[in-house]
């Protein structure tokens, strides 16, 4: 049986797509690897994972919080987060550390992880826990229902 011209064209297009796909895939993984080696040296703990190399766009913002002394701090003034909803990004297995200082008394609630801590007016509270659940989670002033930060935990 002789394959029709349509079938040949389709197979050719398929082959073309296959080549393009391999090129993209190889390029994608290679490129990602390069970026990650430049952008960050991981904190000591032996939790490095292969998967993280691909996510370079997010690495830009949270860069400061990788340094040991500077814990990211969210400042609440008048019941609102200064500078809008903060974005915190961690990798699974790391220890999540951040601080909230508030000029109002309320309860700080981190969804998903379901951690609640009361804060007094003018006080500050530090969160410290292992990043065990992957995903995006909201930190909010529970009684005012005001979102303060989005915690992103990457695999």
């Amino acid at each position: 049986m002789k394959p029709s011209i349509e079938v040949k064209v389709l197979l050719a297009l398929g082959a073309l797509a296959l080549v393009a796909f391999i090129a993209i895939a190889v390029n994608g993984t290679g490129g990602g690897g390069d970026d990650s080696s430049v952008s960050e040296a991981k904190p000591p703990a032996g939790t490095a994972k292969e998967e993280t190399v691909h996510r370079q766009p997010e690495e830009e913002k949270p860069a400061p919080e990788k340094k040991e002394p500077a814990i990211p701090t969210i400042v609440v003034r008048g019941g609102e987060p200064v500078g809008g909803v903060a974005e915190l990004s961690f990798d699974a297995g790391e220890v999540v550390r951040f601080k909230v200082t508030s000029d109002v008394a309320d309860e700080l609630h981190l969804h998903g992880y379901d951690i609640s801590k009361p804060v007094v007016a003018g006080g500050s509270v530090t969160f410290e826990f292992p990043a065990e659940i992957e995903g995006i989670f909201e930190l909010e002033l529970e009684e005012r229902a005001v979102p303060l930060a989005e915690l992103q935990v990457n695999p």
């Binding site: 197979l11 398929g14 993209i24 990602g32 379901d114 659940i133 992957e134 995006i136 989670f137 992103q152």
Partner: protein
């Protein structure tokens, strides 16, 4: 300044949001879609396979028992009881959306659960449909008292499934657009959901009285028609009072011959797209239009609702336009049937795409919230904190059951499978319409373009959501 915390309702219910699909996975998935498509067309069959659905009645006593009056009354009673429980919880229970049975029951368990069951098993909603059960009970009562069939108006056939398509948009609108307060999306509250359920019940029972229970279920009752759309792909069907098995997908081929069917499936894809896009691609346009309206002196709440409504309708319009463009293209192939024949003839090929969109967007939400559904919501439906009907009130939601990777692969897998199924259905129809295999294949370059567009758009939405 952020106006939107996240997908309002999903966000109010589940504490964990999906991470966007990483760029490398997006590239892989899109490439696989292209490759699979071309090879599928090259090796595809040359005679129609889904033209007849080979329905056969199931033999055996158990199947007959399922269709008995007692069983039907029981299923109907379960449906009515659940609807009643949802409404009661919404009206009397807590206003905390995640602690009240109403929202999770209506918008997650039923709204997402039935499409998933239907797509495999067929129309499983029908026996549990609470309004159908009430309508049939009322009909039986009428016949017993009056000694004759209730008289109904003839349903205007040109209206087709349009009432259901409008109902679908209204339902999703209520879910993701309506719940705003002072220009901030806060999500729907249980009380409003319960009131809406009461209004819808009244409307449905009235329409059933006017046009007849079965007629309204087949054409106008939003949930029957919407779940029934997915059920067209499933394998069980009741015909002439007998439960039987049929070939999967085959029943769907004539589904779209009723007016309004295309609108229904397009609305399904469009509204899901809007839900995904509102947080990603469309976030900035929505914020600017909202700001522009609010600065123009319109009340903030109205501005936000208006903006979101506008963009939701735009999404539906865009999906329709892509599909119609594909149909237009097919029309240009030699010996093509008319535009309207093609438009209705291929609409059912979008059902798998619609299901894939639903599955990809709400899979994790469903897995998390069903834990709440069978746990604390079952035992403490009002969220009072003092009730414990079945001893499960203290159960929580384990958000670690799915890793981010698991969610990504399920999402991509759903879109690819939906894509291939859609292509398969379209190819099969093309052979029927053109008769000639070569012309049919040529016409399918257009449908292929449409499907690739939908699938890659779906992947794209997942890759930028929540950022």
């Amino acid at each position: 300044m952020t106006f939107f915390s996240s997908l309002p309702l999903a966000h109010a219910l589940a504490s964990r949001q999906d991470l966007p699909i990483p760029a490398w996975l997006f590239a892989w998935a899109a490439s696989i879609v292209l490759i699979v498509s071309f090879f599928a067309l090259a090796i595809a069959w040359r005679t129609p396979r889904f033209d007849r659905d080979h329905w056969r009645a199931l033999k055996g006593r158990g199947w007959g028992l399922l269709r008995s009056v007692g069983a039907q009354a029981l299923f109907g009673a379960i449906g009515v009881a659940l609807l009643g429980a949802g409404i009661y919880a919404g009206l009397r229970g807590t206003e905390a959306p995640d602690r009240n049975l109403a929202l999770t029951l209506f918008f997650v368990t039923v709204w997402l659960g039935f499409p998933a069951l239907s797509v495999v098993l067929g129309d499983v909603f029908r026996p549990f449909n609470p309004w159908r059960a009430v309508g049939r009970a009322f009909g039986a009562f009428f016949r017993a008292v009056a000694g004759q069939e209730p008289a109904h108006l003839r349903y205007p056939e040109w209206l087709g499934r349009w009432p259901a398509a409008v109902g679908l948009v209204a339902f999703v609108w209520l879910e993701i657009v309506y719940g705003t307060s002072g220009g901030v999306a806060v999500g729907l509250d249980p009380h409003t959901a319960a009131v809406a359920a009461c209004i819808y019940s009244g409307y449905t029972l009235a329409m059933m009285a006017v046009f007849g229970v079965e007629k309204w279920c087949a054409r106008g009752e939003t949930f029957s028609v919407y779940f029934g759309m997915f059920a067209e792909l499933g394998i069980f069907e009741v015909r002439k009072g007998k439960l039987g098995r049929r070939r999967p997908f085959a029943a769907a081929t004539t589904w779209a011959h009723t007016p309004g069917s295309l609108a229904l499936v397009v609305a399904s894809i469009g509204t899901t797209s809007f839900d995904g896009a509102a947080e990603g691609v469309l976030k900035e346009p929505i914020e600017s239009v909202f700001g522009w309206m609010r600065d123009g002196g319109i009340d903030p709440t109205a501005s936000l609702r208006l903006t979101n409504t506008l963009f939701m309708l735009l999404c539906i319009g865009a999906i329709a336009a892509i599909y119609l463009l594909g149909v237009r293209g097919m029309r240009s192939v030699g010996k093509a049937p008319s535009f309207s024949v093609l438009r209705m003839g291929f609409a059912h090929t979008l059902i798998p795409i619609a299901f894939a969109y639903l599955f990809a967007h709400y899979f994790s939400l469903f897995v998390f919230l069903e834990q709440a559904q069978v746990g604390y919501l079952l035992s403490d439906p009002l969220g009072t904190g003092t009730t414990d009907l079945f001893g499960t009130a203290s159960w929580g939601v384990d958000y670690t059951v799915l890793t981010a990777n698991a969610i990504w692969y399920v999402q991509v897998g759903a879109l690819v499978v939906g894509h291939v199924t859609g292509l398969m259905l379209a190819h099969d129809r093309a052979i029927v319409f053109w008769g000639d295999y070569r012309l049919a294949t040529r016409s399918q370059y257009w449908m292929l373009a449409v499907m690739v567009a939908f699938t890659c758009f779906g992947l794209y939405l997942l890759s930028v959501s929540n950022q």
